[in-house]
């Protein structure tokens, strides 16, 4: 019986993946039959890494920055909120709901909401800060390539924090209260209790959060596509793949090469996760 899911998996995931890898060594404009595909060897990769294709290195850097911000800023904030809300303060249900709300929205909608906040002339932020007057200089939140990535990361983190918070809350709820009692009887303060007792128990949740964070960072696409189609400081690998393959440019081979690079980046965390889960099974 295991054959059917395996077959579906291979057919729908691994065959297309291999297809992309093969296509990445070709040049094809998507028009005409397979006979029109021209084998060009490593040319696509040479163009990418040779700096001839300007958005590539920025996109690579932005994907990594995205990952770093999610891992080092958004995730700890989510965790902190979870710990605070776990203390059964008054109205914690309301806080939970408010913080979790953005997660219910698709990233495209998140992008759209924040676009309204950041708009140069009519945006909420510039009007509140009083930076729309003709004498003062506008802050071009989404148009200035030096700051727009950070502006978008605020928006993306706004959603990610809620996601992480909920995952940790679920984990914290499952921690046996007697452990805390034992720790406090042994004279541990709140901080020690958390870092020495609670956090190690949350190990499985940590892995889930890590994987979710990596996946969310690598598949980030919709938010920048909504904001400016991933141009001008918001380049991401996923957008470059889309622009090359689905857009009018129709550079199927070249887009596949970018997709292969994205695959190589993704495969690291995937192997790490699989090794852990399979290792646990073996134990």
């Amino acid at each position: 019986m295991v054959g059917i899911p395996a077959f579906i998996h291979i057919f729908l995931i691994w065959l297309p993946t291999l297809g992309s890898i093969l296509l990445s060594f070709t040049s094809w404009n998507g028009i005409g039959g397979l006979g029109r595909i021209k084998f060009v060897g490593l040319t696509n990769y040479q163009v990418l890494f040779g700096g001839i294709y300007p958005p590539f290195y920025p996109a690579l850097a932005h994907n990594l920055i995205w990952l770093a911000v999610f891992l080092l800023i958004a995730t700890p904030i989510g965790m902190l909120l979870a710990v605070l809300l776990d203390r059964e303060i008054r109205g914690s249900r309301i806080y939970q709901s408010i913080i979790y709300m953005p997660v219910v929205l698709s990233l495209a909608v998140v992008g759209f909401i924040w676009e309204l906040q950041y708009a140069p002339d009519q945006g909420f932020l510039n009007n509140v800060l009083g930076t729309t007057t003709s004498s003062g200089h506008l802050i071009d939140w989404l148009g200035n390539p030096d700051i727009n990535l950070w502006a978008v990361l605020v928006a993306a983190s706004w959603r990610h924090v809620g996601y992480v918070m909920v995952l940790y809350l679920a984990g914290l709820k499952s921690v046996d209260p007697t452990l805390r009692e034992a720790a406090s009887i042994d004279g541990a303060n709140a901080r020690q209790t958390f870092f020495r007792v609670i956090f190690p128990i949350l190990a499985p949740i940590n892995v889930v959060v890590l994987v979710v964070t990596v996946i969310e960072s690598l598949r980030a696409f919709d938010i920048v596509y909504i904001i400016n189609k991933g141009l001008n400081g918001l380049e991401l690998l996923s957008v470059l793949v889309t622009n090359n393959i689905l857009g009018e440019a129709s550079r199927v081979g070249f887009g596949s090469a970018i997709a292969v690079i994205l695959l190589l980046i993704s495969i690291g965390p995937i192997i790490f996760y699989l090794a852990r889960t399979l290792g646990e099974d073996a134990r």
Binding site: L105, S106, S250
Partner: protein, 468 residues
């Protein structure tokens, strides 16, 4: 409304919405309410995309007594299909009026499939290779010729033998493929011009600038009056291409533009550098923070008298929803630079129109439809509902034109050289977001950068594209 080729931002409720974990969040009343937020937001989005496809035509109205004007001489019957990218309300209705008139005249039923225009353009090659409609909307210029050369469009030279008399040689040229056959029927075009409000100019005593010196003098005066001289928005990557085009044609001439777009001239030429240098001197008069502003917002700046002028296609007029305001808009051609190319009066005036699929299911009916669209009568029907453009036919009825259209027609008539626009005159993989859109934005975010290195980058990118 003639929309330039830009995908808007299609707000689609993607399926990536996380399922709320009720086990964790018992009884969040807000979630249910939130689910309707995307729909609400999409409704007030400037680029909300209604895509109700397939508005079917009246099924086979009684054939009228008038003989159908079949193109190839054979009387066309049956039905045909039409793929339309005219997804905005005004042009959509205008197109439906034309189709209804055609059905009433010939008895041929037409099924219209409307797709959001950005999506239509992005998926065009897959669409043409799949099961395309018999007739579809497209643009004149390089991209039309490209599809014709790839064998994805049908030869309609015989249609031109019936409709040819309605069009000038320039329009016929713009409809002709590399092999000298016709593949395209134009319906309207619209010029790229400097748009302004008459009331503001009258109140401040501003004069229409004829030369670039007058223009900069006027711009300085506007700045001292507390106005932004030129509204500017390039968030979508393509509007600034119009500015590049016009400066290039003013300084280097129309033929240079065509050769540059075709890759015959190099981006590293001193002529191109001169365009960018000239542009940099004009940027202080442009609205700042352009890369974060859509063309719609820039047009609003001009309409609300924050900015004095706006250089864009006349579709900017769609932003003036109040008829009185729309009547207050007027425009003039981009000023002249005192070069030998002044006499060309070159402008960008992109032509929109229709093509036929390579293998239409009902070629006779498809050609009858194209022959009908290529008549002044049909174009007038369209422009009655969408009065932002001007008819392509030379003998179209201009008596119903509003002031806006009359100005357009006059400016186009006075131009001896008409270009299609950067991204219609060159290959799409070069013009798109990965290419020129990104390069122009890079220039605008730092106009003082080393232009030689910058232009070398453009040429290297062009050279890296596969041969076509």
């Amino acid at each position: 409304m003639a929309l330039p080729e830009t995908p808007g931002s299609p707000i689609e409720e993607s399926g990536s919405r996380t399922v709320s974990r009720r086990t964790v969040l018992k009884g969040i009343a807000g979630v249910a309410g939130l689910a309707s937020v995307p729909a609400l937001l999409a409704a007030c989005s400037s680029a909300a995309t209604p895509s109700p496809a397939a508005s079917s035509a009246p099924s086979a109205a009684a054939p009228s007594a008038a003989a159908p004007s079949a193109a190839a001489g054979s009387a066309a019957t049956g039905s045909t299909t039409f793929g339309s990218s005219l997804s905005d309300a005004v042009p959509k209705k205008a197109m439906q009026d034309v189709i209804d008139a055609f059905t009433a005249k010939t008895g041929i039923a037409v099924t219209v499939n409307t797709v959001e225009h950005g999506k239509f353009q992005d998926t065009i090659s897959a669409y043409l290779q799949g099961t395309p409609d018999d007739v579809f909307t497209w643009f004149a210029g390089y991209r039309m010729r490209f599809f014709a050369a790839q064998g994805l469009a049908g030869d309609i030279s015989d249609v031109w033998s019936t409709i040819g008399s309605h069009f000038s040689s320039a329009f016929k040229g713009a409809s002709t493929g590399d092999d000298g056959k016709q593949y395209f029927v134009p319906i309207y075009n619209y010029p790229w011009v400097v748009i302004y409000r008459k009331s503001l100019f009258a109140k401040q005593g501003y004069q229409i600038p004829k030369t670039i010196d007058d223009f900069t003098t006027l711009a300085k005066k506007m700045q001292s009056d507390g106005l932004v001289p030129l509204a500017f928005g390039d968030k979508d990557g393509w509007p600034a291409m119009g500015t590049f085009d016009i400066l290039n044609m003013r300084l280097n001439g129309y033929d240079y533009h065509v050769s540059l777009m075709a890759g015959k001239n190099k981006w590293t030429d001193p002529q191109v550098k001169a365009v960018y240098q000239r542009w940099a001197t004009l940027l202080p008069y442009h609205q700042e923070a352009a890369l974060g502003r859509t063309w719609q917002d820039a047009a609003q700046s001009m309409i609300s008298n924050k900015a004095g002028m706006y250089f864009l296609g006349t579709f900017a007029g769609q932003q003036a929803t109040d008829p009185a305001t729309h009547d207050d808009l007027d425009f003039f051609p981009f000023p002249l630079f005192g070069t030998q190319y002044d006499s060309e009066n070159a402008i960008d005036a992109p032509i929109d129109g229709f093509m036929m699929a390579a293998k239409p299911k009902n070629p006779d009916a498809a050609k009858a439809l194209l022959a009908f669209i290529g008549t002044p009568g049909a174009e007038s029907i369209y422009l009655t509902s969408d009065p932002n453009d001007v008819a392509a036919a030379t003998d179209a009825d201009t008596s119903k034109y509003n002031a806006f259209q009359l100005s357009s027609a006059k400016i186009i008539g006075a131009s001896n050289k008409i270009a299609q626009f950067l991204d219609r005159d060159t290959r799409p993989d070069f013009a798109g977001p990965n290419g020129m859109q990104g390069f122009i934005q890079k220039f605008l975010s730092d106009p003082t950068q080393d232009l030689d290195a910058y232009l070398k980058g453009i040429q290297a990118f062009y050279d890296s594209l596969p041969a076509q």
